[in-house]
């Protein structure tokens, strides 16, 4: 029982990170109908940027995270600007464009930070909490709290602000949105920037839990993407549920199947997707592809 709960706790904190990654995937997808394959590598850049400001420049962790989010947000804007001429013209090229940007970002990370990664010490010094024999890292609690806050903020932005409403409108029907005077380009740019910011948040938070190197994107991206699929691509709530589901599933699989955990995680994922191809909260109407 104690084991089961301990595994659950570690699954939840990584799940919160996957949820953040999945939210970024979904936000861009629902607005533009595009899967941003550079997303995970933006998260990796975010992790490197946050760790550099935190470790090398000795800034407080929160400030380092803020700077990382701003930097990656700018990268998101650049990617969107480069791809904009292709919007509504050549979808496949846009998709390949994002893959290309991902490769560029990885190469850039190796040029800037070298090939050896870095382990980031936890920004919270306090010892892990001991609740009925279950050790809970205080940092894990922070990660979950920040992720929850980000979910609430994003939901508020999309449903309560004018900009957010405009993005929703573009997501539903971009031609009708253009007709009523919404700037689709700006809306897309905003989606990309917020998506990139979420990636940096995920990357920065996961740094002290895992290990920051140029291949970090691979580990985060595949699970984050799976989380978005499981929850229903394009759905923000789905991304959260999917992220936590993948995190917990992965955690239990690692406990029971050891070296074969990845295989088991994705087998279960495949079966779930076969049973419900649109994901848990999948809305057909969002799909524009």
């Amino acid at each position: 029982m104690q084991d089961t709960l301990q595994t659950l706790v570690s699954g939840l904190s990584l799940g919160a990170v996957y949820a953040l990654v999945a939210m970024g995937f979904s936000l861009v997808y629902r607005t533009m109908g595009l899967v941003n394959f550079a997303h995970a590598d933006i998260a990796m850049i975010g992790a490197y940027a946050a760790s550099t400001f935190y470790l090398t420049s000795h800034l407080p962790f929160a400030v380092a995270m803020g700077l990382a989010i701003v930097i990656t947000g700018a990268i998101g804007l650049v990617i969107e600007r480069v791809l904009r001429p292709l919007e509504n013209k050549d979808f496949d090229l846009m998709l390949i464009g994002t893959i290309g940007f991902g490769i560029v970002l990885q190469a850039l990370a190796i040029i800037i930070w070298g090939t050896t990664g870095r382990a980031v010490p936890s920004p919270l010094d306090s010892a892990p909490l001991d609740v009925l024999g279950i050790r809970i890292r205080t940092y894990d609690l922070l990660v979950m709290a920040v992720a929850a806050l980000a979910v609430v903020a994003l939901a508020f932005f999309l449903s309560r602000t004018k900009r957010g409403a405009a993005m929703q409108a573009v997501a539903m029907d971009h031609e009708a949105a253009t007709a009523v005077g919404i700037d689709v380009g700006r809306s897309n740019a905003l989606a990309f920037a917020i998506g990139a910011g979420l990636a940096a948040l995920a990357g920065g938070l996961v740094g002290p839990m895992l290990y920051v190197d140029a291949s970090l994107g691979g580990a985060l991206g595949i699970k984050g993407f799976a989380a978005a699929m499981l929850g229903g691509f394009g759905s923000i709530h789905g991304a959260v549920v999917g992220g936590i589901a993948i995190g917990v599933l992965d955690s239990y699989a690692a406990g029971h199947f050891q070296g074969y955990s990845v295989l088991v995680t994705f087998l279960v994922f495949t079966i779930a997707i076969m049973i419900r191809p649109m994901g848990i909260f999948g809305e057909r109407t969002v799909s524009r592809a």
Binding site: Q6, G117, A219, S251, A254, G259
Partner: protein, 386 residues
């Protein structure tokens, strides 16, 4: 009107003849097919193959520096029998497939010997190609599977996992009196070798692990495995994994409240392991290593000083191993008057050498050294266990 091409009898015969010729060439004794490799003038070409990118790149970096230091010293003294040594570094990315391609490349570019790799899996993948091409290879790998290759061209510049781990198991069980030992290893070549070697050594001493956790080589979160280990309340935890992963395991274990010491072989004595886990987390880690510190002998002090002067950083085990291995190769080249192929391999086998790690005397299995010592990490430094 169309004509259907039909293979004529002579053509079939020709194809068969070509195939037969190819098969015959392939079957010729290893080392004899590459007569052009050993030209009698010009620089001696030696390839250094190691991971220069990816998670294992720190290993590759040390190896490269150790090998380069040895070659530079020889070149400064005038090379081998008046010929300069030319060394080129190749990046295998820690990937066996890349390694196999590089093995073909160094064959086609007529390198006469290879130093590396530090990754057992890559070396094992390269071994058949190098054996066929007759290129002697001094590896820094330590997995027992290297010996199982039975290649007369493959040499180890250090002890095998069995040596590391039987020394370690003996220390933990007999000297410390631990009966409850947990294991966590990865499923790569190195980790698997460590797993089998330690499990066997412990079993021979009448102890079986309380839990035996296997993780993947690219795993980053070990909570599940560590939770299992914690619930078994072991007295020590054996790690069979490379530097970075081992560091992450220890870091996360301390967060989960595992306070017992960790024990392991070469990777756990390195600065990368200590930096990854954090100095506080690795305190008391027990390490089995043939090169505990730069102060173990006058030769080691001299090596460390030269290393410091050349690269501005402290030397460690892997650099020392590569330095020893490269010196053995160059000594063999000198004694054999720059032989190649089988003759060079025999010359390496015949070379007895007093290195930084101890006295090398190669057996038929390509292992030159069969002893390690026990050290312990105190205040972020590996020191000899007194």
């Amino acid at each position: 009107m169309s004509r259907t091409p039909r293979p004529s009898v002579p053509r079939t015969a020709l194809v068969a003849a070509v195939a037969l010729a190819a098969a015959l060439t392939a079957c010729s004794a290893p080392g004899e097919s590459d007569s052009e490799a050993g030209s009698d003038s010009g620089p001696i070409k030696i390839a250094v193959v190691n991971a220069r990118s990816g998670q294992l790149s720190s290993l590759g970096e040390w190896e490269y520096k150790g090998a380069k230091l040895a070659i530079d010293e020889w070149n400064k003294k005038g090379g081998v029998n008046g010929r300069k040594i030319e060394m080129k570094s190749f990046d295998d990315q820690g990937d066996p497939t890349t390694g196999t391609n590089l093995a073909r490349k160094i064959d086609s570019e007529n390198y006469i010997a290879m130093i590396g790799t530090a990754e057992s899996a890559v070396t094992i993948a390269m071994a058949p190609v190098l054996k066929q091409a007759g290129i002697p290879n001094i590896t820094s790998g330590q997995a027992d599977a290297l010996v199982d290759q039975k290649s007369p061209f493959l040499f180890l510049n250090g002890p095998t996992s069995t040596t590391y781990d039987s020394t370690l198991a003996k220390h933990l069980i007999e000297d410390k009196g631990y009966k409850k030992i947990a294991m966590i290893t990865n499923n790569g070549s190195f980790g698997k070798g460590e797993h089998d070697a330690f499990a066997k050594a412990a079993k021979d001493l009448g102890v079986s692990p309380v839990t035996d956790q296997v993780v993947t080589t690219d795993q980053k979160d070990f909570s599940a495995a560590l939770t299992k280990i914690r619930s078994k309340k072991p007295e020590a935890v054996f790690i069979g994994s490379e530097e970075v992963e081992a560091g992450l395991i220890v870091k996360q274990a301390r967060d989960l409240g595992i306070t017992v010491p960790f024990a392991g072989a070469a990777p756990q004595g390195t600065p990368v392991f200590i930096d990854t886990a954090g100095e506080k987390a690795v305190e008391g880690t027990i390490v089995s290593s043939p090169y505990l510190s730069n102060d173990i002998s006058p030769a080691a002090q001299k090596f460390a000083a030269a290393y410091q002067a050349a690269y501005g950083e402290e030397a460690e085990l892997h650099g020392a191993k590569a330095y020893d291995g490269t010196n053995i190769l160059l000594t063999a080249l000198k004694s054999s008057d720059v032989a190649t192929g089988r003759k060079l391999a025999d010359a390496i086998r015949a070379t007895a050498y007093d290195g930084l790690l101890g006295r090398f005397e190669f057996g038929a299995d390509g292992v030159g050294i069969t002893e390690t010592a026990i050290g312990v990490i105190r205040d972020g430094k590996l020191v000899e266990q007194k």
